[in-house]
């Protein structure tokens, strides 16, 4: 298989398979999680539980008081790479073209030089949070294979995409094929790993806030 054949495969059948598994997994997991249900709480709600849920969704996106100073790497590094990922994935012109060709949706992109900067900052932040996870005994103790693995499958698409654009290490064609392949691995892994927080994050926050509000600790 030469690099054009690899590229053709990852853009064709490879992507079909990856997107298929991704959608299948997302629907499977969402149905599974939300169909578990909760026991009805028969006590009278002590405060507006639903509103508390919405409040928690928002509030937990902000660091609690003093926490930024206490663990700056987690908060600043975490923010940086999440925002960086969003910029690189959704505002790079070729990515928008792909989404447009699939869904018909389109929006303006950012100059490629800016995307380049965002990619470098994102990778730097990801490396910093990884080193922090390795260095801090508590974090290391709490980390499982799932954490290291999801870090790698998130990092590789950014790295290969950046290297493809910068023409590093391998010819552009090969690098582009590896980039798309790494994204396909991410798509397949996402529904069945910790990365599924991309879908469950707000739902679980709402539940937490709602339960707390019901108990009278609206936060």
């Amino acid at each position: 298989m030469n690099e054009i054949q690899l590229l053709t495969w990852v853009r064709g059948p490879g992507l079909d398979i990856a997107v298929g598994i991704f959608l299948l997994g997302v629907f499977w997991r969402l149905f599974e999680i939300y169909s578990l249900g909760r026991k009805k709480d028969l006590s009278a709600s002590r405060s507006a539980a639903g509103a508390s849920g919405w409040h928690t969704i928002f509030r937990r996106s902000l660091p609690p008081e003093g926490m930024v100073k206490k663990s700056p790497v987690s908060y600043i590094g975490g923010y940086t790479f999440h925002i960086g990922l969003a910029i690189v994935v959704f505002l790079f012109a070729p990515h928008i073209l792909l989404i447009h060709s699939l869904t018909g949706l389109s929006w303006p992109g950012l100059p490629s030089q800016f995307i380049d900067l965002a990619a470098v900052v994102t990778m730097a932040a990801m490396v910093v949070v990884l080193v922090d996870r390795i260095n801090k005994p508590v974090k290391r103790y709490l980390s499982t294979f799932g954490d290291w693995f999801t870090w790698a499958v998130t990092f590789l698409p950014v790295l290969t995409g950046w290297m493809a654009v910068q023409h590093l290490l391998l010819p552009y064609t090969t690098m582009l094929a590896l980039h798309i392949l790494s994204v396909e691995v991410l798509l397949v892994v996402l529904p069945f790993s910790k990365l599924f927080h991309a879908f469950t994050l707000f739902g679980s926050r709402w539940f937490n806030g709602q339960v707390n509000g019901h108990k009278g600790v609206a936060v």
Partner: protein, 363 residues
């Protein structure tokens, strides 16, 4: 500087200065040091008299003669053509006056007289299907001819994508069993000059290199001279700034197309194609496909015919969402099935639950 070539050139009205300029251009195009221009000029100028010019044998196999067309048409009265006066083109079916037995005689005479020294140029792929019956010359299959002529060659130039990779005949489902020269010949230095057709300057550049240094230039992983195939069309494209700015032509007749914006969305394969079109251009530097308003087809890459649609942007995949509905339905069904299992577990746990009474604790 004197020599048979200089005299021939002078007779044809080409000055020494023009010849030196040509050699310097050729050397700089191949990214050789400035001194190489002079070395080339001296090597070519001092080439022995006409009877001893380096022999070149050109074998046409399963091809469309486009490669020959490309070279003859563009170099015709220019200096590049004169390079062919330096060599002795002993066999070229399209260009030679001889035909039939005379042509075959010329071939065998050249092979015998220059055994181990002649340069073999091949254009077209070699069909292996039906024992090679798909393409025969003088009653012999292309496979037999190639093996026979390659034996005494100093080096082989695979001209065009067919000879280099199998090309169009090799495209899926490859009915004739077409293969490239390098699939058959393993014991000779082979240089691939792919393209459909390749750029004429590239072949003359490689010939000049061979005559000057007696060796082949540096090659990439596909056996192509790095001097010409070292960078992608995209990286050298004059429309590249529009790509970086995100300005794309959406159709062949919209405002973007008229403004000369990037053709990426219209299927240009420039980013994955290594060739010199963007710098050397075609027809004596007049223009090239992207300049004329059409995206690159990627003709110098292996299997470009099977690389997806010519008018499909590189970042646009086949159609991954065609199965989206089915995948979502299967996923939802799996989720519902799992939820029933979970509920079953829950109720089983509930019914298996034994209540502990005060009496139990006092036991």
């Amino acid at each position: 500087m004197h020599g048979p070539l200089i005299e021939t050139l002078a007779r044809q009205g080409v000055t020494r200065r023009t010849f030196m300029k040509y050699c310097a251009t050729l050397a700089s195009m191949m990214a050789l040091p400035p001194s190489a221009g002079r070395a080339m000029a001296e090597a070519m100028a001092s080439a022995p008299a006409a009877s001893k010019r380096p022999s070149v044998i050109w074998l046409p196999f399963q091809e469309c003669t486009g490669c020959t067309e490309s070279i003859t048409r563009s170099h015709s009265p220019t200096l590049e053509g004169l390079i062919f006066d330096v060599i002795s083109l002993d066999y070229q079916e399209t260009l030679m006056a001889a035909a039939g037995h005379q042509a075959e005689e010329a071939l065998h005479a050249a092979m015998a007289a220059n055994d181990g020294k002649y340069l073999l140029i091949v254009d077209g792929s070699i069909p292996l299907g039906l024992d090679g019956a798909y393409s025969c010359i003088a009653g012999k299959s292309n496979l037999d001819t190639l093996k026979e002529v390659a034996k005494g060659a100093a080096a082989i130039v695979a001209m065009g994508s067919c000879a280099a990779y199998g090309g169009l005949p090799h495209a899926n489902p490859n009915p004739t069993g077409a293969v490239s020269v390098s699939d058959i010949i393993k014991d000779k230095p082979i240089i691939n000059i792919p393209g459909c057709p390749p750029i004429p300057t590239v072949i003359t550049g490689v010939l000049a290199h061979f005559l000057t240094f007696g060796s082949l230039p540096e090659l990439d992983q596909h056996g192509r001279p790095k001097a010409f195939y070292g960078e992608t069309i995209h990286d050298r494209c004059y429309r590249r700034p529009f790509y970086d700015q995100g300005k794309f032509a959406k159709t062949f007749d919209d405002e973007g197309a008229r403004n000369g914006w990037c053709l990426f969305e219209l299927g240009c394969k420039g980013p994955v194609t290594y060739n010199a079109c963007a710098t050397v251009k075609w027809n004596g530097g007049t223009s090239w496909p992207v300049e004329s308003g059409h995206g690159c087809l990627g003709c110098s890459e292996p299997d470009f015919w099977d690389g997806g649609g010519f008018y499909k942007a590189l970042s646009m995949p086949a159609d991954p969402l065609k199965l989206a509905g089915k995948a979502a339905a299967v996923g939802a069904a799996a989720g519902v099935a799992v939820s029933f299992v979970n509920r079953g577990k829950k109720s089983a746990a509930k019914s298996a639950h034994e209540t502990t009474t005060l009496a139990d604790l006092e036991k």
